[in-house]
Symmetry: C2
Subunit: 364 residues, 2 copies
């Protein structure tokens, strides 16, 4: 109809401007726009006409100021380039979006000080809640304090020892056990495990006493290793520390680790890799060493990566329901955001074994 009033800067029209044009009070305009309180049909019409005329856009900052809620959730991931977090993020954003929340994203890059900075920033921005994948060495103090202050926090994938917070992840021990059992049932006795844990955990992972595994923090690796040992024990197969390879996180690390394993006097006839990057490393090592998989050495990976069924051989994997993990984390957080009083829970989903062609009976 008319062009926009030149006096008012587009994109920064306020409720007051709208009210003035509509010929009602600020309070009424706000009620009509914000859809609360009670407003007559006539006022509502007047206001919405004025609003669209002026191109009014509500200012969430001001709204947050008074409602003390930002409808924003902070998400801190450990390693943004890890496909696991990516899929989880997909689940998280989809669910949160559905509930009207936006996501403030930070990448801790597994570094303590970046995690701390991110945490601080989120608090200063007054996020309504937090989904955190704690870094390997995480700041229990700070997170714990936030929870204590009543900030809803959900831990994803990893947990922090001694921290009473909701957590969402898979049944790692079960998963470790299933993978190992699968290999045992096919006759394997010399089964190696390649983990992504840092070197500082080597001792605990190699210890004779499985209880040592509990000391491995952020312990998806430790817990999976514990399942592996349970399976071994149940089958009466002795534990060989040399078969647990603490590789580091990168593919190259796993490649080297695999080559070392293959050079052992009694090399393993099967290998379990604890994440998809490591699986790729093992595959690379097989190629380099000229080892045929599965004929000479079987392989089970974790995470059903997009390439898993396309490589040769197609890889048998423990598939984690990663998107669902993210969704569940988001849902749990929203429940708390809605003020539901809930006990602290550890939500656990099962990983499932997907049979492909990287496992065969041991040679000979």
């Amino acid at each position: 109809m008319t062009t926009r009033s030149p006096g008012i800067p587009i994109g920064d029209t306020t409720v007051a401007d709208v009210a003035r044009l509509a010929g009602v009070s600020v309070a009424t305009a706000a009620r009509a726009l914000g859809n609360y309180g009670s407003v007559s049909a006539r006022s509502r019409e007047l206001v919405s006409a004025a609003a669209s005329e002026l191109g009014y856009r509500p200012n969430m900052v001001a709204r947050s100021m008074i409602t003390k809620t930002t409808r924003t959730v902070g998400v801190i991931v450990g390693d943004i380039e890890n496909h696991f977090f990516l899929s989880a993020l997909r689940g998280i954003t989809d669910r949160l979006d559905a509930f009207g929340y936006d996501v403030l994203l930070a990448n801790s890059a597994e570094e303590l000080d970046r995690e701390q900075r991110a945490l601080q920033a989120m608090v200063e921005r007054r996020v309504d809640g937090l989904i955190v994948t704690p870094a390997q060495v995480s700041d229990r103090e700070l997170i714990s304090e936030l929870i204590h202050q009543g900030l809803p926090v959900v831990l994803l994938d990893r947990r922090i020892r001694g921290l009473r917070a909701d957590s969402v992840g898979i049944r790692n021990r079960e998963a470790g056990r299933i993978a190992t059992d699968y290999l045992l049932h096919r006759g394997h006795r010399r089964i190696a495990l390649i983990t992504g844990a840092g070197a500082e955990h080597r001792e605990a992972l190699h210890a004779e006493d499985p209880r040592e595994l509990k000391t491995v923090r952020a312990s998806t690796s430790g817990t999976r290793a514990s399942g592996y040992r349970q399976a071994l024990a149940a089958a009466g197969v002795p534990f060989v520390p040399d078969y647990i390879s603490v590789a580091g996180f990168r593919r190259e690390d796993a490649c080297l680790a695999t080559l070392e394993l293959l050079n052992l006097p009694a090399p393993p006839t099967a290998i379990v890799t604890l994440d998809s990057g490591l699986t790729l490393g093992a595959l690379q090592a097989f190629r380099q060493a000229g080892i045929r998989c599965p004929e000479e050495c079987s392989l089970i990976g974790f995470d059903d990566a997009e390439w898993a069924e396309v490589v040769s051989p197609p890889i048998t994997v423990m598939s984690q329901p990663v998107v669902q993990l993210g969704e569940r984390a988001a849902e749990r957080l929203v429940q708390r955001l809605n003020g539901e009083v809930l006990d602290v829970a550890a939500i656990r989903l099962s990983a499932t074994l997907i049979e492909r062609s990287s496992v065969a009976p041991p040679p000979g």
Copy 2:
């Protein structure tokens, strides 16, 4: 020393509280905390002592209210599960973090209405700037209006026809040409191209007149296809519409498309796939059809995925500097955020060919 004063709710102490405890005015406390204006050493000490005693945390919402700046950048990605965006996101967050900006993330899932909703949300949250990967069908109107209002916007990977905004991406035409030339030089004449564009672009991509390609919106595919045709033309090889396969985005689509290509009366001796998911599909098709690569059919992919050198054969790819792309986008945005006046620019990085083993001379 002392425990925290019980009267003041932890985590919501304000400048006023700090000022009271420090025995100075709100203004002085704010100056000391916010590090602006001039404050005596003594006041500064008093204030910071009081602040840490009370566990004061600045409230960015209130600060934004008055400074009219949120130090937040909105990032809208087209498909959060695409590895391309993931790596880009890594570059973006790292750079923005270094400049003190946080990232508000939204996933448009290539859907127009989700993109619009995300855009609206970002505006309402008063982000300082925007990095957008426009969806296939994007809302030029809205973005254009925002830019017009002075909101800094940088387009990533894709562009929007007719929109005057900074954009960052690779030299797609050059990349398409290089990949095709590489195959031509090895003697291939029947070279197929598998794109991820939607079916609605089939006509333009198949048209005899290469200028039709311009109509393919959000046109990384179109531009790469145009480079492909340039190379063909320069080598005097006739263009065969059947060799351009408009697959769809998923791996299965590419797999089917590849099988169709292989069933052509004169099947291609080499295939170029325009993203990594499609490459995986082609590989899958080779396996299903029992075609040996590269002996019977060569393959060049786009994007140096983590698995590219591990599959067999290791894939020759056009590698995009994806993290850098994200970094450049972030840097460009920060320049504008700092108020630098700049012409609209199209920042283009080169993709580089990584030779591996998926290309051989054509059979026979």
